[in-house]
Point group: C2
DNA sequence: TATTGTTATACTCTATAACTATA
DNA sequence: TATAGTTATAGAGTATAACAATA
């Protein structure tokens, strides 16, 4: 072990703890809303929203679907299986890559998203956005965006058997 | 249902999604670090950190301990039970309130926190703080702090049998 | 009667590793 | 050999509701 890393100062620590707590409370509130108004979990909503709102075609490859939502491949398979059983998505072979699986949102899936969205938005507004000025919302986005990019790029230190992570075979105990 | 709420604009939506994703990735990374270097989970670390770092006495009442960390009382009882079994905390009757339970961190508990902290800090620095300027870290804190205060105050819309919440017994199917 | 905390139960989710099939 | 995805298994965590004891 090298020299002890310098501790975080009050602002750094405060930003970190506030981030974790705010995101946790927000997510918890949205989960509750989803439980009351729909039959899907937060993760499932995220996956459906990616397919239904982000993707122009309503379809995405399994691997591409996982980013930032599910942290293991088996977890994604599990969630996709639940969504398929509920007939909110379909799974089919990818066109170009025989190994690939393409997930597509169904009309029923879109309907669920549409039904959940108003309440979802309301929670976010009430809980997160309401006490913030427009400038603060913009700052929040401007600060978190580079952090997100950085985190997506950087493998979590211990590059496990994750996706493309096999950069430097050094390190690791 | 009233009129549909106006959808969120790109910045609001971006701030929300970035918040959830950044916090999720960060938490996931820290959980992994804790799993590799210690025997406690993230929630347990948070509880120990509150007792060992925040509280001047190293003790706190069960109810006060839960804020922003655990979202149900039974969840806290469960976690406190695990920590007690591992001899990282002790539980005893509160002095003033016979119903209360006071949780105190032990020397072993403090040792675990000390052991986990360097790696924990390193993850936060590498993953969250590194790509941000000092100003951005300050902005992040300045924006999230009022959001946290607001969320702590506001019951999650559907005031369940939570703490003081039993306002309107209407609604509910 | 309200609040503090615990217990029991059932369920969801996750991680790990082994496995198949294609590139 | 590496990658895409699935499966099986096992474990951790959570919510719910019923309960006991004190305020």
């Amino acid at each position: 072990m090298a020299t002890a890393p310098p501790p975080l100062d009050a602002v750094e620590l405060g930003a970190y703890f506030a981030l974790i707590e705010v995101a946790g409370l927000l997510r918890h509130a949205v989960e509750q809303q989803l439980r009351e108004e729909t039959d899907i979990s937060y993760v499932q909503f995220q996956l459906l929203a990616r397919l239904g709102l982000d993707s122009p075609t309503g379809s995405e490859r399994m691997t591409d679907l996982a980013d930032g939502v599910v942290y293991s491949r088996s977890g994604l398979t599990y969630q996709a299986g639940l969504l398929e059983k509920a007939e909110l998505v379909t799974r089919g072979q990818s066109a170009d890559d025989e190994r690939g699986v393409t997930v597509s949102i169904t009309d029923a899936g879109r309907a669920v998203v549409s039904r959940a969205l108003p309440g979802h938005v309301e929670v976010i507004r009430d809980l997160l956005l309401q006490p913030l000025s427009r400038t603060q919302v913009e700052q929040l986005y401007a600060v978190l965006e580079p952090a997100r990019e950085h985190m997506r790029a950087a493998p979590p230190r211990s590059a496990r058997a994750r996706r493309g992570g096999r950069s430097s075979p050094a390190a690791a105990s």
